[in-house]
């Protein structure tokens, strides 16, 4: 069905269309519309689910853990401080191998209070064992949420998936949305370690290091095995519903001499910048990082690279730039831009490409001070 929706509404609609059974959530700007929409959907009976209006994000993830442990489909949504408040439970849910799906409306962290888009919240949850996908359009927010359930619940993966959408820049903008009848695209959840009264076991009991090591390795194995599962889920999605997705989204990439790389909405904005630069005679192309975890390094050999990070690792650098540097051996021009919802236009992005200096770091808007 063709309609129009905000990014938030698209996520909520995907949760309904995925027949989620338990949703536990706590409101936070700019995610609120997701939980309002789901609460209304449940109240109206169009989604047969339990909606648990928990008293905190820590409890939101805790309740999802309790529900998911019984072997049913669960979802939550959060943002910024909510995400970092549930950090402990993010580790717990991945460690417990529970296929929980969560939408995170990317937002800056205080102080001072700032509700604008920034990736520091989810990037700081990088090592929790959650898969992370970053989306750039309302349609993609919907599609990625549906695919997330299929990927998370695959028995070769059994890890939680976080769908990241830029606060306001995507959560609150309205675009066209085509919904689908998921049919059997998401198979029924069959959690091998669901709580079984007739086979009582201890979950998460005291574990010696020898076994702990095996469990940690098994998380990594699930993460590695998720790559073909993601590729398959995206291929099947394209075959059934006509929209194609890849781990990395390429734009005028093949013959490009300089590649600009970013995540989220900036990753779409830069396509306009690429067109502009091509008109100027600069052979630019772009690469949008969709899956940040698992991180499958792209082949950047022989290209100049400009990376825009809407995040920062203090004392180190732009996170995406440095991950690419480490995994691809490139020497990117690292641009820090868009923090706290800073407006970054295609003109600005074209400017970054024009001023590129390999190995240098540029803080957009404050460069006089660094």
């Amino acid at each position: 069905m063709l309609t129009v929706a905000t990014g938030n509404k698209a996520v909520a609609t995907a949760v309904k269309d995925s027949k989620t059974r338990v949703v536990a959530a706590y409101p936070i700007t700019p995610q609120t519309e997701i939980v309002e929409e789901i609460a209304n959907t449940v109240a109206a009976g169009t989604l047969e689910a339990e909606y648990i209006p928990v008293e905190s994000e820590h409890s939101a993830m805790a309740a999802c853990i309790g529900a998911s442990a019984t072997g049913i489909r669960t979802f939550t949504a959060t943002s910024s401080h909510g995400l970092v408040y549930m950090c402990e439970m993010l580790h717990w849910s991945a460690g417990a191998r529970l296929p929980i799906v969560m939408a995170n409306a990317n937002r800056a962290l205080a102080p001072g209070w700032n509700i604008g888009a920034e990736h520091s919240d989810s990037i700081s949850m990088r090592d929790t064992g959650w898969l992370q996908v970053y989306v750039s359009t309302v349609q993609e927010a919907y599609d990625a949420t549906i695919m997330a359930f299929r990927i998370a619940e695959n028995n070769d993966v059994l890890l939680p998936v976080m769908i990241n959408l830029d606060g306001f820049l995507l959560t609150h903008i309205t675009q066209s949305l085509e919904t689908v009848d998921t049919g059997d695209y998401i198979p029924p959840l069959s959690l091998p370690h669901a709580i079984d009264i007739d086979n009582p076991v201890g979950y998460g009991t005291l574990t010696p290091f020898s076994e702990h090591f095996k469990f940690r390795w098994d998380i990594e194995r699930g993460m590695r095995d998720s790559v073909p599962v993601i590729v398959d889920a995206e291929k099947e999605f394209g075959a059934r519903f006509g929209r194609k997705y890849d781990l990395w989204e390429k734009y005028r990439f093949d013959d490009a001499e300089v590649i600009v790389i970013a995540m989220g909405t900036l990753g779409k904005e830069m396509e306009v910048a690429v067109d502009l630069l091509r008109e100027e005679g600069i052979k630019a192309g772009s690469l949008r990082c969709r899956w940040f975890r698992p991180f499958v390094p792209p082949d950047l050999s022989g290209r100049e690279v400009v990376v825009i990070d809407r995040d920062y690792s203090f004392g180190y650098g732009g996170v995406l730039a440095n991950e690419l540097k480490a995994k691809c051996g490139c020497d990117p021009f690292s641009v820090i831009a868009g923090l706290g919802g800073q407006d970054v236009t295609f003109d600005d992005i074209a400017g970054f490409v024009r001023m590129r200096t390999p190995g240098e770091e540029h803080w957009f808007g404050v460069n006089g001070n660094v």
Binding site: R21, V22, A24, E48, A49, E50, I52, P53, V54, E55, S56, H58, S59, A60, A62, A63, C64, I65, G66, A67, S68, A69, T70, I72, T74, E88, M89, W92, I195, D196, I197, P200, V201, G202, Y203, G204, T205, L206, T207, P208, E211
Partner: protein
């Protein structure tokens, strides 16, 4: 509305054991004792949700477990929230499985109180049981919000300067359909209370006083005697509230008639060895006041 549960004798308790022999509990541990009777009351169709506490250790080391029901171990602050999610999930499946939080005092009165309050306000269909040994036992007896006035712990070397937090008052303010206190020294009373709690839908709460030999500094064979003395002195009152209506349990009714001085209870335990007369007097006054208020309320409602 009072709920009638057939009270049974010790010899009539179910023979099924859900705590297997050879747990890693300390000698004289009243946590294991309480859990044994609670699980006899709950039966087979039960899941325990356990935050960090002594029970996390007592289960044994992976891949073994000494408990014969599924046990979901969870993060310290999260027990009531995990349980409410689990209970909601069972409801969507049409299952009646008992979801019981089994948490220590630290995981309840301190770090877990927000999740507990949230779950009770929402009316989650869970039974939350706090076994209270009045300190962080698992980490070596640091003070908790449940540590009583004057007690020595590893973080109150001069004795705790303030009173124990009124957990029951906090829970009562949520108007749960059922709440009760119990003590490991009265296992039949505990069994009956767990049985009754599980017959009621909604959030239920049982607060068990759980004496702890290494933490309270008394010989391991005195666990029952110490628990009984807590009740006899009025330092611990056994009661139930069904839909708010108070019913004082028999051992406390007897204690109200002729309470033993609190000094008898304090004197049995090394943790009170340095308590001064001023604090003993404050504890005596608090116990007297508490007994008086329960006695009055019980008389009014009888």
């Amino acid at each position: 509305m009072m709920i009638y549960i057939q009270r049974i004798a010790m010899t009539e308790l179910p023979k099924e054991e859900y705590i297997l022999k050879c747990t890693s509990a300390c000698a004289g541990c009243s946590d294991t004792l309480s859990l044994r009777y609670a699980l006899k009351a709950a039966g087979h169709d039960t899941v325990l949700v356990v935050p960090a506490c002594c029970t996390s250790v007592i289960q044994g080391l992976y891949p073994n477990t000494a408990f014969n029901v599924p046990v979901y171990n969870v993060a310290f602050a999260s027990a009531a929230a995990v349980a409410s999610g689990m209970s909601a999930a069972f409801r969507t499946m049409g299952r009646k499985t008992n979801v019981i939080c089994w948490a220590g005092d630290g995981g309840t009165v301190d770090i877990g109180i927000q999740a507990l309050s949230g779950a009770f306000e929402r009316g989650a269909d869970i039974l939350y049981i706090c076994y209270d040994n009045e300190a962080y036992g698992n980490t070596g007896m640091q003070r908790s919000g449940a540590t009583p006035l004057g007690a020595l712990t590893t973080t109150t070397p001069a004795g705790k300067p303030v009173f124990k937090k009124d957990l029951d008052g906090i829970v009562e303010a949520h108007n749960p359909p059922y709440m009760a206190t119990a003590c490991s020294a009265y296992p039949k009373d505990l069994f009956n209370k767990v049985k009754k709690a599980l017959s009621i839908e909604g959030p239920k709460f049982i607060h068990i006083l759980a004496p702890c030999p290494p933490g309270w500094r008394y010989p391991a064979d005195q666990t029952i005697a110490v628990g009984r003395m807590a009740v006899k002195t009025g330092m611990w009152i056994l009661y139930e509230r069904e839909y708010g209506e108070l019913s004082v349990s028999a051992p406390s009714k007897a204690a109200f008639r002729k309470p033993v001085p609190v000094g008898e209870y304090l004197g049995m335990q090394g943790r009170f060895r340095s308590i001064d007369n001023g604090k003993i007097s404050l504890l005596q006054q608090a116990a007297d006041k508490n007994m008086e208020s329960f006695r009055k309320e019980a008389e009014c409602t009888c």
